[in-house]
C-alpha cells in the first residue's frame, strides 16, 4: 500500500512542482508582501510588518470604486449570461435549421482573442456611427456615448462581457442538453405538460450540474475581469476610471505606481472574496445532493 502511494506521488511530482512554483509560491509571496509597509522591489527593504497596506487601500476611493464596479459587474454578467445562454442553448437544441451555423456563430467569441472582439465592439459602441446607436435610433432613442461617458462605461463593459461569456455557457449547456433523454420530453408531451413547465421541471434540472458549474466558473472569471476592460477601453480603465476593476487596480498599483504592498493587499482581498463565494456555493449545492 505504502509503496503504491509513493509511486503515485512520484507521477504527480512534476505537476505538483510546477503548481508550487507558479501558483502556491506567488500566493504566499503576495500574502507576505501585503503586510510589508513600503516594500522596495530592488533591494527588498521595507519599513515594517503591519496592516498599513490594507488600511491604505480601504481608504483609497479608487479601490472602493474598483471593488463596487467589480461587484456590480459580477451581479449582472453572471446571471444574465447564464439566463441568455440557457434560452439560446434550448433553441439551438430544438432541431432548428442551420443548427451548425448558429452554433459556430455563438461559439466564435470563445476562440477569438478578447482584444480582437474588443476592437469590434469598440465600433459597435461608437457614439457617432456605431451599430448599437443606429439600432436604438430606430426606436427613437437618442445617441448614447457608450464608451466615452462615465455613466455608460460600466454598462458597456457589462453588455460586452455578457455577450463574450455566453459562448462558454452555451457550449456546456448544449452538451448538457444532449444528455437529457428524448423520451422524457415525449413523456412530458403525453402528460400534457405546458412548455414552461417542461423547461423548469425537466430541462433546467437536467442540466443543473452544468448551470452550477457555469455559475462558479463565471463568477470566478468575472471577479478577475481585466482583459475585457483593457480591450474595450484601449488599455485604459474607462473614462476617468469609471470602468475600473479590482484586477485593473492591482495591475496599475503594481506596474505603474510600484506600490507592491498595496497591490498585494488588494490581491489578497480579491482572493478571499472568491474563496468565500466558492465555499458558500459548494456547501449550498453540496447540501442538495
Amino acid at each position: 500500500m505504502e509503496k503504491k502511494s509513493m509511486k503515485g506521488y512520484l507521477y504527480l511530482a512534476p505537476a505538483l512542482i510546477i503548481i508550487l512554483i507558479f501558483t502556491i509560491y506567488p500566493l504566499i509571496r503576495a500574502f507576505m508582501l501585503s503586510f510589508m509597509e513600503d516594500y522596495n522591489l530592488v533591494n527588498g527593504s521595507y519599513k515594517g510588518i503591519n496592516l498599513e497596506n490594507y488600511i491604505d487601500i480601504f481608504q483609497d476611493r479608487h479601490f472602493i470604486k474598483a471593488l463596487t464596479n467589480t461587484g456590480i459587474y459580477v451581479v449582472f454578467v453572471v446571471p444574465c449570461s447564464i439566463a441568455l445562454s440557457l434560452i439560446i442553448a434550448v433553441l439551438l437544441n430544438s432541431h432548428i435549421r442551420f443548427q451548425g451555423v448558429f452554433q459556430t456563430i455563438f461559439f466564435l467569441p470563445y476562440v477569438t482573442s478578447t482584444i480582437a472582439i474588443g476592437i469590434v465592439w469598440g465600433w459597435i459602441f461608437n457614439s457617432d456611427y456605431g451599430l448599437l446607436n443606429q439600432l436604438l435610433s430606430w426606436f427613437g432613442i437618442k445617441s448614447i456615448p457608450w464608451l466615452t461617458s462615465k455613466q455608460y462605461a460600466l454598462p458597456s463593459l457589462i453588455i460586452f462581457s455578457i455577450w463574450k461569456s455566453m459562448a462558454f455557457d452555451i457550449l456546456i449547456f448544449l452538451a448538457g442538453l444532449q444528455t437529457i433523454s428524448e423520451d422524457l420530453y415525449n413523456a412530458a408531451r403525453v402528460d400534457s405538460t405546458p412548455r414552461w413547465r417542461v423547461f423548469w421541471r425537466i430541462t433546467v434540472p437536467g442540466i443543473g450540474p452544468m448551470i452550477s458549474y457555469a455559475f462558479v466558473m463565471g463568477m470566478i472569471n468575472a471577479f478577475k475581469v481585466y482583459n475585457e476592460v483593457y480591450a474595450l477601453f484601449r488599455g485604459k480603465n474607462g473614462p476617468a476610471g469609471s470602468a475600473n476593476t479590482v484586477v485593473f487596480y492591482i495591475y496599475d498599483k503594481f506596474y505603474n505606481q510600484s506600490k507592491y504592498g498595496e497591490a498585494s493587499a488588494a490581491a489578497v482581498i480579491l482572493f478571499l472574496i472568491v474563496l468565500g463565494l466558492t465555499i458558500i456555493q459548494r456547501t449550498l449545492t453540496g447540501k442538495k445532493e
Binding site: D183, D191, P194
Partner: protein, 352 residues
C-alpha cells in the same frame, strides 16, 4: 375503448417502417404486439400515441378519428421502454405530474396518486427519487403515472426488457392483474413470444413492418398463418423440413410421416413442433420411423433430443424419464394434426 388501425403506413424516405397495417383491438383487450427487433413495434406504438405522424392511414379510438390529434388529447397512458421517469422528482411528484398538468387541484391529485400507488404496491416509496428504486419498482411507477389520469388506452413499450427473468414473470402477471382491474384497452410491445402468449388476449405478430397475423395466443400457436409466425412462436423452435407430397402422403427424406392428406403433389416446407412426436424404444406402429439420437440434452422437465432425417435436423422433447442416450435408436410417430405444410411463398397450406 376500441382501437382501429386502417391502412397505417409510416415511411422514412423509401423505407417503409410500417406497411399498410390494419388492426382492430376490442375494448378492454390486452394485445401483445410481437416481433423481432426493428420490425416496427415502437413505431406503431408511437403513432398510436401521437408522438409519430403516420405517412398514410388512419387511427380511430372508438368512434373518433385521432390520426391528427396531439398526444395530450388522445387520452392515452404510455409506458416507455426505459420508463422515462422524471429523474428530479419524487415518486409522488412523478405520479401526480399528469394530474397537475391537467389542472387537478393539488390535494385531489395527491389522493389519486396515493390510490394509484396502492394499486401498484408502491406505498412507502412515495418520497424516493427514481434513482433509488429497483427496476421493477420504477416500472410500477411508470405504470402508475400512465394510469393515474384514467386514460382509455394504455400503451406499453417493452416494459419488462430491463428486468431479470424472475422479476419479468412477476411483473407481467402484475400488469395483467392491473389491466384486468382497470379494464383498460392495452397494447403491450414485446419481442419475447412467451411473454406475449402468457398475458395477451390476442397477439399481433409483425415482421419488417408488415402485420403477419392477429389471433388468440393458443390458436396462433397451433394454426400459424405462415412460416414466419410458426418459427417465431415456441421454444425450442418448430422443426422446419423439406417435405414432398405424393398421392396424399407426406414424406421427409423418403420417410412417410402422414397419409391421406388432401394436398396437391409437390414440394413444400413442413413444420412440426418438438413436442408433437410420440417416441418409443420399440416400434409402436408399422409405419413408425426409426431414428438415432445425435445429441441429448437434459433440461430437467424434459429431454431434448436431436436426430436427422436425411439432411433435415429435428429436435424433439420427451419426458425426462425416457432412457435415451446419444446413438440410441428409437421409433417415432407424429401426433395427429401436428404437421404443418407451407407453400413456397411461406403461407400455410394445411395441418395434417
Amino acid at each position: 375503448m376500441e382501437i382501429r388501425i386502417e391502412n397505417l403506413t409510416k415511411a422514412y424516405g423509401d423505407f417503409k417502417a410500417i406497411d399498410n397495417m390494419n388492426l382492430t383491438i376490442a375494448d378492454g383487450d390486452l394485445v401483445g404486439l410481437l416481433g423481432p427487433s426493428g420490425c416496427g413495434k415502437s413505431t406503431t406504438l408511437f403513432m398510436l400515441a401521437g408522438l409519430n405522424k403516420p405517412t398514410a392511414g388512419r387511427i380511430f379510438f372508438g368512434e373518433h378519428e385521432v390520426t391528427d390529434i396531439a398526444p395530450e388529447d388522445r387520452g392515452i397512458g404510455l409506458v416507455f421502454q426505459n420508463y422515462a421517469l422524471y429523474p428530479h422528482m419524487t415518486v409522488e411528484d412523478n405520479i401526480m405530474f399528469p394530474l397537475i398538468n391537467r389542472k387537478v387541484p393539488k390535494n385531489e391529485a395527491r389522493d389519486r396518486a396515493y390510490e394509484m400507488a396502492k394499486m401498484v404496491q408502491l406505498e412507502g416509496l412515495m418520497k424516493r427519487k427514481p434513482k433509488a428504486l429497483s427496476g421493477g419498482q420504477q416500472q410500477r411507477v411508470a405504470i402508475a403515472r400512465a394510469l393515474v389520469k384514467k386514460p382509455e388506452v394504455l400503451l406499453l413499450d417493452e416494459p419488462l426488457s430491463n428486468l431479470d427473468a424472475k422479476l419479468r414473470v412477476e411483473t407481467r402477471e402484475e400488469i395483467r392483474r392491473i389491466q384486468q382491474e382497470v379494464k383498460i384497452t392495452t397494447i403491450f410491445v414485446t419481442h419475447d413470444q412467451e411473454e406475449a402468449m402468457s398475458i395477451s388476449d390476442k397477439i399481433a405478430v409483425m415482421e419488417k413492418g408488415v402485420l403477419q397475423q392477429y389471433e388468440v395466443p393458443q390458436k396462433m400457436y397451433l394454426n400459424p398463418g405462415n412460416l414466419f409466425v410458426a418459427t417465431f412462436l415456441g421454444t425450442p423452435q418448430i422443426n422446419v423440413f423439406d417435405a414432398e407430397v405424393h398421392d396424399g402422403k407426406i414424406y421427409c427424406a423418403g420417410n412417410m410421416l402422414r397419409s391421406g392428406c388432401m394436398v396437391p403433389d409437390g414440394s413444400y416446407k413442413g413444420g412440426i413442433r418438438p413436442e408433437s412426436f410420440n417416441v418409443t424404444l420399440l416400434p409402436s406402429a408399422p409405419d413408425a420411423i426409426r431414428a438415432e439420437a445425435s445429441h441429448v440434452r437434459m433440461t430437467g422437465r424434459e429431454l431434448q433430443i436431436r436426430f436427422n432425417l436425411g439432411a433435415n435436423e429435428f429436435r424433439l422433447l420427451v419426458h425426462s424419464d425416457m432412457q435415451i442416450g446419444v446413438g440410441t435408436p428409437f421409433y417415432l410417430t407424429t401426433r395427429e394434426k401436428q404437421i404443418l405444410l407451407f407453400g413456397q411463398d411461406g403461407k400455410t397450406v394445411g395441418k395434417f
